[in-house]
Amino acid sequence: MTGIDTRALDRELKRGSAELLILSLLDARPRHGYELSKLIHARSGGQLTFHIDSLYPLLYRLEERGWIKGTWVEKPAERRRRFYKVTAEGRRVLAAQRKTWAAFVEAVRRVTGGEHA
């Protein structure tokens, strides 16, 4: 089920592209942890999987940095869930990371696909 080596993904987590994924997903609307893991799995076509022991530490780290904020939401007859949304600071970071990512992708594309340009 895992398309990318999870060890490699862990390294990515440290580097920050995982942060970009989370922030992007939360930018649309607040979501809880399980929803995030499902979305990442589904949208990556099963290529990316966040385990519980990677996802939540990452969320808590982003929260400690003040980029996202979690709130408990209680619904009748359900266990309370923690929803996360992007803070203003998080939005600034997201914009910057998107720019960097786009530049990186563009650079990689130019190098690897330069012959066709």
Binding site: Y34, D53, P57, E64, R80, R82
Partner: protein, 897 residues
């Protein structure tokens, strides 16, 4: 809601978090959130057709091996929360627990800012005052002298029962120098004033005369050049001078090539040989220059005393051994010394600096200590009230297993945290107070520059703060240290007002009143002293209209004494010609200026028995116009004329106390004859001048012998001038006087320019200083004490609101309620006053030496101060009593349901 079939994920999650230091609430949140996630996953698997067993296995596979969850969480802040604080938890290790208690206390206070601020401010007042006075006591009395191994430096003196011989002359000094065994070295010194002329205005500067051994034994190193050697202090050697750092800067601009330059000192050429470091400070002297003190080893060694001696003890030698050594050397003195009955008086050199200022400083320190005690009393009361409100919490802690000691420590930590905060603020207050103190400190308070808040003072403040905290905390510990479990049920507040609850607080208030009263009585006695001193006839009138200064005519400038005297007369004439000057007079010293020249007189009519020592009398030389200018009157006979001075006529004027001593009435002294020694001619008493308080207003009038300015034994060249004018104190007046002096001789420097009023203020400075300081201490004590009374009555009133409501509802009169509280307050005040009077009767005895015109048990002061305190206390009681009596019974009863 979870359905029953869902596995319990929480345990799995919690297990994986156990290695982290998460705060309990945070851990619960994470467990919740992750359990929810696992739950969602599990349900999805079940919905997808997995068996319960398989779903559980797959769900748990979310946790990979190696506990990655803990590993990923570990770097986060939330995974490293400080250990939880559990108030009243059983003691483990002492230090971390103490730290925990202190932090808990600090946190508690941040939630009760009003309480904390009141307590801290009160303590800051007390601790600040104590710190300020301690810094003075330390700087002046306790700090070692600024010399190498100062504990080995001693002042060499003698006990002289007949007045002469406490200090040194060539005989004692040289005998000691030739025979000592207990000392490493001995040296002589003497303060002096010299004129420096040539280059700019002539100036009169302070000089320190030292023998060649003195600076080396103090281990003072010059920063430029050298100090004196044996070749410099032998009589007849060329005059050489060492500059102090300040004078080097002022006169030579700190020039490097100063060695070898010349100064004209008292008309003699002097070569500069060195400069002392800026750190050089010698006892009470403030010299500009240091000169040799030449002593002729071969001169006859008669009975004469005129300088001081000091020594450095050999290592390991005690004061007692040094005194034994001196006792041995006294027996080596010429036989004529035997009748002086000298005994050794070797004492630490530091004692020469302190002299009699020590006692007043210790009294002041005791006074501010009392203020601190009163402040502690107030805070203890605040603390008790607060602890009462927490009775339930403390009982809960005890019920949960906190030991008595643990609760005591928690309470004490709180009080110590408050006290240390008060101490910190107190240091700031003390720093400000010291600035103020420096400006009002009397001139004779030595080493004022050494007063500062240094490490020692800070350490003292810390110790005092912690002790204060322990002191006022202990009341709460005694009262609430072992709370009963029943208190938990009480619901934290008392149903009724049991008398025992107030006993501690009442006792504290009584103590505060007693202490405040004691201080007020002390201050009251000082005020009476001050008033009594102001009413004494000092021997002069309207001192604000008398300008004084000192004029020296060095032998190097005018060698002939007659000529010097005529110069003084010319100066006096010129001064009299300055517009607005009413009269001018000259004397070797002005009343109360501190000059003390003593000698003996023999009286023709009352010859001394053989071998007896006549009493020492103060000698002054004077010239016409002096008594008139000062405003003293001749009570019999006449003054002298300039003609009598020049002709050296054998006439003399004495002061009234001396005349009364021998002849009963001043007039009977006229025509009687006195002389200074068997070889000197008899002199006739031609006048008796009124009483003069030359030793200060608090001392009896001094017996003075006034010699005409030129006389066989004393060729006075330095004279103090008194100039009476209503222009004294106006701008330019002193400059006009200077011009008048310089119109006679431009090389005469004016020194010690001050008004007679300033001289008088200086002589009263110690009393004024004590008065101001004790007055401030007493006022603060009164203020804090009254606030204490107010606080206790007001608190009692609020505690008894319901009871008052019941009483009023049952028909008690408002006046009765008010009376009840007034009685309470007045009873406390009365007991406090009674105790305070008792304490004051005992402790004011140590003040007797500072009192004048009033006894230490003066009933009027005691009555007036007690009355004033009672009145203020009544006011402080009335306000809350009045408020209590206006309680609306309906509101009071409803509030307590």
């Amino acid at each position: 809601m979870r359905d029953a079939s869902t596995p319990r994920w929480a345990r799995e999650v919690r297990m994986r978090l156990s290695s982290l230091r998460l705060a309990p609430t945070r851990e619960a949140e994470i467990v919740d959130e992750l359990s929810q996630h696992l739950d969602d996953h599990y349900r999805e698997l079940i919905a997808g057709g997995a068996s319960a067993e398989e779903a559980t296995r797959l769900t748990l596979a979310e946790f990979r091996s190696g506990n990655l969850l803990a590993k990923h969480l570990a770097p986060l802040r939330q995974a490293n929360a400080p250990p939880p604080i559990t108030p009243g938890a059983p003691a483990g290790r002492v230090l971390p627990d103490l730290w925990q208690d202190l932090r808990y206390a600090a946190r508690t206070f941040s939630k009760q800012p009003a309480f904390a601020a009141t307590a801290v401010l009160t303590l800051a007042l007390g601790i600040g005052a104590t710190t300020a006075i301690f810094s003075v006591v330390y700087g002046v009395l306790l700090k070692p002298l600024p010399f190498d191994e100062p504990e080995r430096l001693v002042s060499l003196q003698q006990h002289a029962p007949h007045g002469a011989g406490a200090n040194h002359g060539p005989a004692t000094y040289l005998t000691y120098r030739e025979n000592y065994q207990a000392f490493e070295a001995i040296g002589a010194w003497d303060p002096a004033e010299v004129s420096i002329t040539g280059g700019g205005d002539p100036e009169r500067v302070q000089a320190l005369l030292v023998s060649a051994a003195t600076l080396p034994l103090l281990r003072v190193q010059p920063i430029v050049g050298r100090v004196f050697g044996a070749e410099d202090d032998t009589p007849g050697s060329p005059l050489r001078v060492i500059l102090t750092y300040g004078y080097w800067q002022r006169r030579f601009g700190g020039a490097d090539n100063v060695v070898g330059q010349r100064l004209v000192i008292d008309g003699r050429q002097a070569e500069v040989i060195g400069v002392l470091p800026s750190s050089f400070k010698f006892l009470r002297t403030r010299p500009s220059i240091v000169l040799p003190l030449p002593l002729d080893v071969n001169a006859p060694r008669g009975i004469s005393f005129g300088f001081q001696a000091l020594a450095r003890l050999k290592p390991g030698v005690t004061l007692a051994q040094a005194n034994d050594d001196v006792a041995r050397m006294i027996s080596l003195l010429p036989p004529a010394f035997a009748r002086l009955e000298l005994r050794p008086n070797v004492r630490p050199l530091a004692a020469d600096v302190i002299r009699d200022i020590g006692q007043i400083l210790w009294i002041l320190l005791a006074a501010v200590g009392v203020v601190l005690l009163i402040a502690c009393g107030n805070v203890a009361n605040l603390f008790l009230v607060r602890a009462e409100g927490r009775h339930q919490e403390l009982a809960m802690r005890a019920a949960l297993g906190a030991s008595r000691g643990r609760i005591a420590r928690a309470l004490l930590s709180e009080s110590v945290v408050l006290a240390v905060a008060g101490g910190a603020l107190g240091v700031a207050l003390a720093a400000a107070a010291i600035g103020l103190l420096r400006t009002i400190a009397p001139a004779e308070l030595p080493r004022v520059d050494d007063i500062s808040i240094d490490v020692t003072v800070l350490f003292f403040t810390l110790a005092v703060s912690v002790l204060s905290g322990a002191l006022f905390g202990v009341f709460a510990v005694l009262r609430f240290g072992s709370p009963s479990i029943a208190a938990i049920k009480e619901g934290g507040r008392s149903a009724s007002d049991a008398p025992a609850r107030h006993r501690t607080r009442n006792a504290l208030v009584v103590g505060q009143v007693a202490l405040a009263l004691t201080l007020l009585i002390v201050a009251g006695l000082m005020i009476r002293t001050f008033i009594a001193m102001r009413q004494v006839d000092p021997g002069f009138t309207r001192p604000q209209e008398v300008q004084t200064f000192v004029l020296a005519i060095p032998a190097g400038l005018i060698s002939d004494p007659q000529q010097a005297a005529r110069t003084h007369e010319s100066v006096a004439e010129r001064l009299a010609g300055v517009p607005g000057v009413a009269s001018v007079g000259l004397s070797s010293s002005i009343t109360m200026d501190g000059e003390d020249n003593g000698n003996y007189i023999a009286i023709e009519e009352f010859p001394e028995p053989e071998g007896a020592m006549p009493r020492l009398r103060r000698f002054k030389s004077f010239a016409p116009g002096y008594f008139e200018t000062m405003g003293n009157r001749l009570v019999a006979g006449r003054s002298i004329t300039w003609g009598e001075i020049y002709e050296q006529r054998a006439v003399i004027v004495i002061s009234a106390p001396l005349a009364r001593e021998y002849w009963g009435a001043p007039a009977r002294a006229l025509g009687k004859r006195v002389r200074t020694g068997p070889r000197n001619p008899w002199r006739e008493i031609v006048g008796v001048v009124g009483d003069e308080r030359d030793d200060g207003l608090s001392q009896p009038p001094t017996a003075i012998v006034y010699w005409p300015m030129l006389n066989e034994s004393y060729r006075w060249r330095t004279m103090a001038y008194a100039v009476r004018s209503t222009r004294v104190g106006t701008p330019g007046f002193v400059r006009e006087l200077e011009q008048a002096v310089w119109s006679v001789n431009p090389n005469l420097p004016l020194a010690g320019v001050q008004t007679l009023e300033e001289i008088q203020a200086t002589s009263m400075a110690q009393t004024s200083f004590a008065l101001v300081m004790l007055g401030i201490a007493a006022s603060v004590a009164l203020l804090i004490g009254v606030v204490g009374i107010y606080g206790v009555i007001a608190y009692a009133a609020t505690q008894r609101t319901r009871e008052i409501g019941v009483r009023i509802a049952l028909g008690a009169q408002i006046a009765d309620v008010r009376k009840m509280f007034l009685r309470h307050g007045l009873r406390l005040t009365a007991i406090g006053i009674a105790i305070g009077i008792g304490v004051a009767l005992v402790i004011t005895r140590v003040m007797a030496a500072f009192l004048f015109g009033v006894g230490p048990t003066d009933p009027m002061t005691y009555a007036a101060v007690s009355g004033a305190l009672a009145f203020v206390a009544l006011l402080a009681t009335y306000l809350p009593a009045h408020r209590a009596s206006r309680v609306d019974p309906v509101v009071a009863l409803r509030a307590d349901v």
